[in-house]
Symmetry: C2
Subunit: 422 residues, 2 copies
């Protein structure tokens, strides 16, 4: 990855303009380093040589048919992938500096009708300066003692409105149903009707009791997102003290410094939900590729990353999910810095074969079924069995229909949810 310029951060911008690609590339490099809108005395040749960003690559792309952003200017809307290098000495190794200098201001440039960050190459020295995942894929497997198959997880439903006691009752069902992982819905954090500490007190005895009886410790991720890092830390400590080992963090809602703060002090697996991320990627001419975005958050310490799934209920196309899955699973410097991809959204098992096939036949994932487990006609235990069966079929290369002939729970799932699969 470091390439032949290990002291440079290289960012690839997909730019679209009615003007000149070369001019707009030069403008990005200037605006995002030493330049302003007029010449100033101190911007010497020496300072520029030391500090300026430089355009190192322009790869033309076909013109856009329609402009990315509405514009009165006539086309053609020319496009290119523009590679720009920023000296590491100038940016430093702080993620906030990376976001500000390399990944932020560029979106304001007037001459663009489209601007999307599609790749980033970080020098090893930058990567090594970050905490990275504390648990990642290996830690998630170690703590759940699940090997040789995907982790199977679920979400307490309904999303909102349950008291701690009600959440715990459902958690008990799910634990007994054989899941490896349970999480609060990302919308459940610390409301008056279910304060986090009360929920921890209600849920954790069930997890620990089950562990004592069966030897199996279910990972329960409590929703501890808060705009107040001190509160996140109090909640972190309460989870840890009660024997818990995971937390859901809504990364966009807390932001980089929130995650950094938590990671420095954390004894918990950090499970990232990315609600709000869609703004940054949904329009193809704007924002970020997830391959870029997930690097930032892994460096900050995300252990498990929700990436949707095949046939998700959301807007995201399957191809995008596959790229996201692979991005999370690709090491930066070592296997330890991978995040466990969390396959979710409308998953009930039916998508297992295609998930397996399209993600390189790996079983290193956490497969989350929400309504697909709790809404199973035979109850949650049957829902979990159905998902396990669908993964057995996927790995063995047997069609779900065939496997369902001898696996009743899978057959029931197909009957109930099959129409939802796109």
């Amino acid at each position: 990855m470091p390439g032949d310029r290990p002291t440079q951060i290289k960012v690839t911008y997909r730019v679209e303009t009615t003007g000149s690609i070369e001019a707009v590339a030069a403008k990005i490099a200037s605006d995002q380093s030493t330049g302003t809108f007029t010449e100033v005395a101190g911007e010497t040749a020496e300072l520029k040589a030391r500090c300026a960003a430089r355009v190192v690559e322009i790869r033309p792309l076909p013109d856009a048919r329609d402009p990315g952003f509405p514009t009165d200017r006539p086309g053609p809307f020319v496009r290119a992938d523009v590679g720009i290098e920023f000296p590491l000495d100038v940016v430093g190794t702080d993620i906030a500096a990376l976001l500000t200098i390399c990944l932020g201001g560029v979106f304001s440039i007037r001459e663009l009708t489209g601007i999307r960050i599609v790749d980033i190459d970080l020098p090893d020295a930058f990567v090594r300066a970050q905490p990275g995942p504390q648990f990642g894929i290996e830690g998630s497997r170690r703590l759940t003692a699940v090997h040789g198959r995907p982790l199977i997880g679920t979400i307490i439903k309904p999303n909102l409105g349950l008291s701690p006691t009600e959440s715990a009752q459902i958690a008990r069902q799910l634990v007994e149903a054989g899941v490896d992982f349970i999480k609060d819905d990302e919308k459940l954090m610390n409301p008056g009707y279910s304060p986090l500490e009360e929920r921890v007190r209600a849920v954790m005895p069930i997890i620990l009791d089950h562990e004592q009886k069966t030897g199996k410790k279910v990972m329960y991720a409590f929703g501890l997102s808060s705009s107040d890092p001190d509160q996140m830390l109090r909640h972190h400590d309460a989870i840890l003290a009660a024997g818990g080992n995971a937390a859901v963090v809504n990364i966009v809602s807390v932001g980089p410094a929130g995650l950094h703060f938590l990671r420095k002090r954390s004894g918990l697996v950090l499970h990232a939900h990315r609600n709000g991320w869609d703004i940054l990627t949904r329009h193809p001419a704007l924002g970020f590729e997830f391959s870029v975005y997930q690097k930032i958050w892994r460096l900050l310490g995300v252990d498990q990353f929700q990436v949707n799934g095949i046939g998700a209920k959301y807007w995201e196309p399957d191809d995008s999910f596959v790229r996201s899955f692979q991005a999370c699973s690709t090491p930066m410097l070592s296997l330890a810095d991978r995040a466990l991809p969390v396959v979710c959204s409308g998953q009930w098992g039916g998508q297992a074969p295609e998930t397996y096939r399209r993600t390189g036949e790996t079983i290193d994932l956490l497969y989350l079924g929400g309504g697909g487990i709790i809404g199973h006609p035979g109850g949650p235990a049957a829902g979990v069995r159905a998902i396990r069966q669908s993964w057995e079929a996927a790995v063995q290369g047997i069609s779900l229909q065939d496997y369902a002939r001898s696996h009743r729970e899978l057959a029931q799932s197909i009957e109930r949810f099959g129409g939802n699969q796109s």
Copy 2:
């Protein structure tokens, strides 16, 4: 503002779809509160009544000519502003919960071809639970002792590459030139060539020396953004200990929890730079209106908010700047919760009359000239005088051309920068 339902958070979404507006509005309300993709046992009528979000208003808008997001589906692309109320008891008063439940997940909904959050009404109880600005407009005036005119500020240029000693030399020129406010460029934080603490040690004696000689204390905002809140706090403490009173925070780069952490402990005026914000607003069918976004950050504690300006060098149209300026200046519960609007980007004074006219003839702003001051042909002191002159002309209703006849520095600015004014 609270309306007749003071226990509800009301969010207005501008939605666009090829389907039914009513259906997609109902889906937003369900997905963002109690629902999932299939019925689950616990989603009882009682729970829904207590916790579900409700569609309270649908105001149709003209169809979009082109879809907001590229789609294979044929039009028409129907649009409406949809008002949805969320029970305050369910969301609580944590900003991360507000972002997650009301302002985040909605962007993922498949049926939409456009989704933009255009308004938010927060109950008084929500607003009161937040720290809000510590200094705001009044505090900024008190600390600079500037009354009866806009604060005039500038930015150390070049943006990057100066040593602390070089920055201090320029700061000395600017202080002597008569500015009220100086800031680090947002891209300057804590690089190896200019560690923040060294910069503080180099710059602050100049500020304090000038204060002792003249009684005028220039506000200097140091760039302390970091993804590490502990480092931000160390830097905050260093600034405060050296007699400083302000900091630049790149709000998007640190995120909500970073600002919250700082605000709880802060003795400094927090000057917000919003680099990266453009992603969230540049496409008109996607993201946020600034009127919504700025509320979140003021509640978290922003004192001064950069909002671009008339004829800015960026993409933002003047109308959008005017709306942003007015949004920051509009109280939520009291005058104290306003943020000082910071007018910036390519400003050299020429835009003062139109700024004054279009923002309701207020002088409650910080007017920032970067290149417009340091790049003035007569030097920085002449640049500051030119900007003061342009504001005198604006307030007195005299054209800049007329005023320039008796004000040489303004005449020079017009000659040098007049071609840049759009």
